[in-house]
Every structure is written in C-alpha cells, then in structure tokens.
C-alpha cells in the first residue's frame, strides 16, 4: 500500500543526498561563470568594466523576466515598468535633499528632506515593484496567450504615461539627474549572482513545479489541484522584485533616469535575450544575456569602425546593423530553434541536460 506511509524524509537533509547535490550542479556552474566574468573584467580598463557591469544589470533583469515568463509560459511585456518603479523609488529615497530641491520642487516635505542609506533605498525599490505587481497581477493572472500579452503591454504603457507625466515626483519628460552612482562591477556581479540563486531556489520549489505544470497544460494542472492564478501571481511578484532591483542598479549605475529608458526598446532587447538563450531554463536566461550582450558589443564596435591590422583599411558597418542583426537572430531562433539555444534544458557537468 502506498497511501498511508509516513512522511519520513526530513526536509533539512534533502540537498545533502547525492541526488540532491546533483540537482545543485546547474546553479553551481552558473554562479561560477558569473563570478569568473566578474573577476576577469575587474582586471580590465574602466570602459570595459562598465560594459560588463551593464551586462550584469541586464542579467538581473532577464532572470527576473525568466522567473515569471519562463516558468509560467505566459507573455509579459510589463517587466521593464517594474524596473522603472524600482529605479525611481530608490532614486527618490537616496538622492541628496539639495539635488532633489533642484530637480523636483513639488515633492512632499518628508520625502524632499529624506535621504536613506543606499541599501534601504534598493530594498524599498525592489519591494515597491513587488507590491505594485501584486496589485496589478491579481486581475491579469487569469489570462494567458494573446490576452496576457495585450494586458501586460497595457500595464507597461500605463506605467510609462504615469511616470512621464508625474512631473512633481519623477521629473516627467526631463531627465532626473544626480542619483548617487554607487554601482560597481563587484556589487552588480554579486547582485546578479543573488538573482540567479533566488531564481534557482524558486524553480526548485513546489510552487514552481505547479506553475510549470500549468504552463504545459492549464486544464490538466487544475485537475491535479494546481491553483493556477495563485502560482502565477507568486512568480509574477518575485519576478517583479528582481526586475525592480535591476532597475535600482540601472539608475545608480547611470546616475540619470529618463522614462524612455523604461519603454519598448529595452523591453524587446531583454525579451530577445531570453528567447535566444531559451525561455524555459535559467541557463537559457543567463546564456541569452551573455550571447546578446557580447554580440551587441561587437556590432557596436563594428559600427564605430575597426582598423584592420597590417593593411591600411578600416572595417566599418552601416549604422543600424546591430538592431537588424538582433531582429534577424530572434527570427531565426523562433523559426528554427523555438526553445532557444539551450532547448529549455539546464547545464550540467555532462553538458546540457
């Protein structure tokens, strides 16, 4: 009889079995890769370091996007809006009062005078994004397919319009300048590792297995007792938290915020990264960021012009080539390898499994 046996396996030792350790291999490899990139880049010049730092911020965003979209299979165009929330909340809490007085004259008094610790500001940014996701997600988590795509795009547009016109708090269409720029390759790299760990722990949870079941077949998942809306909402809120943190790093990396930085262009860039890498695995999310970031960097250099060694000629690509190549790559992946480079599998010591 299999029904009444006792629940003997203790929760605490589940990672310490050979089987449990084997499950940790993908996480281990991904963390080592990011740490290696961080260490290698720290030896390079400041310009290259900034490029890699920016790549880490993209990595945090795409991992946040993966947590919801990859596991639920539901389209999400709103995630960059949660980056914006994180970025602006942290900015407002950490900017110096004198700077706020210059750019934002209509802030409420308590906020105008306040200046919090960067860590407090960052966490507040992440939690604010998560809170807004909870409210917004409640009605739209019932949707899937095209309905979800349209609804989340509408959410992005609402965020964009509100932030762009709430001049007293965000500076509106003008840039908001003077954010403390505390982001380095070290804290951005560690945050990227943190996002990967968070996404991995979530993906091993019961909630995520239920969510992935609903991605495969929503009707059968409900028959297996899965509370589809609730599991989707959990992932949506967690993903928004990670994207909110990415927004925090983005703002304090550039030191300047513009609402245009949180609209369609980055939305499609990050979605391209996730789709090219493989939407259904954390490895895919990480790999997609690495591949697309490297490619855009190379194409950017090519658009500036590269002097060929030996001969007296320069290789120069026409402007706009980068965007065309990215779009073509997205198209190629969707047509010929719809599950992305990783095919939805996680990396292990024996390759992709």
């Amino acid at each position: 009889m299999i029904r009444h046996e006792a629940d003997t396996s203790a929760r605490s030792d589940r990672w310490l079995t050979p089987d449990g350790l084997a499950r940790l291999v993908p996480l281990f490899i991904l963390v080592v890769v990011v740490a290696a990139v961080m260490l290698a880049a720290s030896q390079l010049g400041i310009v290259q370091q900034r490029r890699v730092t920016f790549g880490f911020i993209s990595l945090i965003t795409v991992v946040g996007l993966y947590v919801f979209m990859g596991n639920s299979g539901v389209l999400n165009f709103s995630f960059v809006g949660f980056m914006a929330i994180g970025a602006y909340v942290s900015a407002l809490l950490t900017m110096r009062p004198q700077v706020k007085a210059t750019f934002l004259r209509d802030l409420p008094d308590w906020l105008a005078a306040a200046q919090f610790d960067p860590v407090v500001g960052a966490l507040a940014g992440g939690f604010a994004a998560a809170l807004v996701a909870l409210v917004v997600g409640l009605p739209i988590m019932r949707l899937s397919g095209i309905g979800a795509g349209i609804a989340t795009l509408s959410v992005l547009i609402i965020f964009y319009i509100v932030l762009g016109n709430w001049t007293g708090v965000t500076g509106g269409q003008r840039s908001l300048m003077g954010l403390p720029t505390y982001v380095t390759i070290w804290n951005a790299g560690l945050a990227a590792i943190g996002a990967i760990v968070l996404a991995f722990v979530y993906q091993e949870s019961r909630s995520c297995l239920a969510l992935r079941a609903s991605r495969e077949d929503e009707v059968a998942a409900r028959a297996a007792g899965v509370r589809v809306v609730r599991e989707r909402l959990t992932a949506f809120v967690l993903g928004a938290f990670i994207c909110g943190m990415a927004g925090v790093f983005y703002g304090h990396f550039l030191g300047t915020l513009r609402v245009e930085n949180f609209y369609l262009d980055p939305t499609f860039l990050y979605i391209t990264m996730l789709v090219v890498g493989g939407m259904r695995s954390l490895t895919g999310a990480v790999l997609g960021v690495i591949v697309i970031s490297t490619l855009t960097e190379l194409l950017r250099l090519l658009e500036i012009g590269v002097r060929l060694p030996g001969i007296d000629a320069a290789l120069k690509a026409p402007a706009g080539l980068g965007d065309v190549v990215l779009a073509a790559m997205m198209l190629g992946i969707i047509l010929f390898r719809p599950q992305g480079i990783t095919g939805g599998r996680e990396i292990t010591l024996r390759g992709l499994r």
Partner: protein, 238 residues
C-alpha cells in the same frame, strides 16, 4: 461518503448537453457511464469535477454543496478526473507529472519524490520515471494519467474513456488495474467507456445517457434487458 449530482442541466447555446440528470457515486463502487457519442457523458464528468458550471442542479461532495468550487478545489477534496486526451504535462518528466499532483495534496517536496516512484511502481511504470512525458507510448501515457490522478488520493475517481485507443488485451489489463485501484484505494470510480465487454465485467452499476437524458440505470444485467436501452443504444439490431 458520496459524490452526488442532482437535477443537473447544462446548455451550450440552444443545445441541451445534459438535461436533468441525477447520479450518485459511493466510495468503493465502480459505476459505468455509457451512451452514444454526444450523449453528454464528458459534459457530466466536467460538471462532477468542477470544469463546467451546471445551469441548474447541484453537486454534493460528501454531503457538502460544491456550488462555486473551482476545478482545483474539487481535485483537492478528492474528486479527481482523467481526460480522454490524457493531457500529460509533456515538458516535464513522468515523475514530475505525478509529483505535481502530490504536492497539491500538501506532501513535502522530498516525500513527493519518493512517493511518486511508489505510485509509478504500483502502475508498473517505475522504469519510466525519469523519461520526458512526451516520449511515452500511448498505453503508458494513459497509465501515467491514472498515476497522476491516484497521487491526488482520490475518494472519487472519474475516468473519461480510459481504454480509448487500446487493443483488446491492453483494455482487459486496464480493467484489472481499475478494479485493483478500487480494492487498494477504496475510491468510488466512474468510468466512461464504449467497450461494453469491459464495462459489464467491471461495473456494479451502469448509468446510460442518451441525448443528455438518463435513459436507464441499474446493474449491467438490468440495463441490458431494459427495452429503452436496447432500442436507443444497441439500435435496431437488438
């Protein structure tokens, strides 16, 4: 404990899919739900499992009115169904298919892994546990569908054409499995089936639907000798 439908009516547009049907299923019994195509069998199972709200009539689970329950609520209270099209989670492994159901009954993550293997072993699927569900043969697919339902610890198991597409030998084997499940788990089982030999051997009672209405009910012998049943179901040949 009983699963009980009383006076259930479902309409799609102007069409009456199910009209004033009442049916009871007690724990430990096997009831066959039969009838020609389009008789409303699957619609009735959808109503009994919360996937279709009836226009009128009510469902009671162990005496409790199920009005307003969603499908996952039925499943969590032990009213578990399978699908004619099986509907496995094809991107997950066989074991994960079963674990998903176990986890929603409140079993821990590690315990679910062990127990999923026990359930798969019970259905002779142990060596399939780590395969992707999309790689299974048709017969194995159907058994994994049943394994996933068993993982919910059903009090009432609703099987929608479990033998569809199986050959005679496989269908007989499946009949033994279903009878075995009833003996081992004590659940009440409702089987939609076209294979009359299987149904008459397996079921204590039959419930016959035709064009959405109850045509006959009783033991297989009673139903077989019912003139209305002979007329409508077996046709002029009977």
């Amino acid at each position: 404990m009983e699963l009980e439908a009383s006076g259930v009516t479902v309409r799609f547009g102007g069409i009456r899919a199910v009209e004033d049907v009442s049916l009871r299923l007690a724990e430990g019994e096997i009831v066959g739900l039969i009838g020609p195509n389009g008789a409303g069998k699957t619609t009735l199972v959808n109503v009994l499992s919360g996937f279709q709200r009836p226009r009128t009539g009510q469902i009671r689970v162990g005496g409790e009115n199920a009005r307003g329950w969603s499908a996952h609520a039925f499943a969590r209270r032990g009213v578990v169904r399978t699908f004619q099209a099986v509907r496995l989670f094809s991107g997950l492994t066989v074991a994960e298919n079963v674990e998903t159901a176990l986890l929603s009954t409140g079993v821990g993550r590690a315990a679910a892994r062990t127990r999923a293997r026990d359930i798969l072993g019970y259905l002779h699927l142990a060596e399939r546990a780590d395969m992707g569900a999309s790689a299974l043969s048709y017969g194995d697919e159907r058994r994994v569908g049943i394994a996933r339902a068993l993982a919910m610890e059903p009090k009432f198991l609703l099987l929608d054409e479990p033998a569809a597409g199986l050959n005679i030998g496989e269908a007989e084997e499946l009949g033994k499995t279903i009878a075995g499940i009833r003996d081992d788990f004590g659940c009440g089982t409702l089987v939609i089936e076209h294979n009359m030999a299987l149904v008459t051997n397996l079921c204590e009672r039959l419930h016959v639907l035709a064009t959405g209405r109850t045509l006959a009910e009783g033991t297989p012998a009673e139903v077989m000798s019912n003139p209305a049943f002979k007329d409508a179901y077996l046709g002029a040949a009977a």
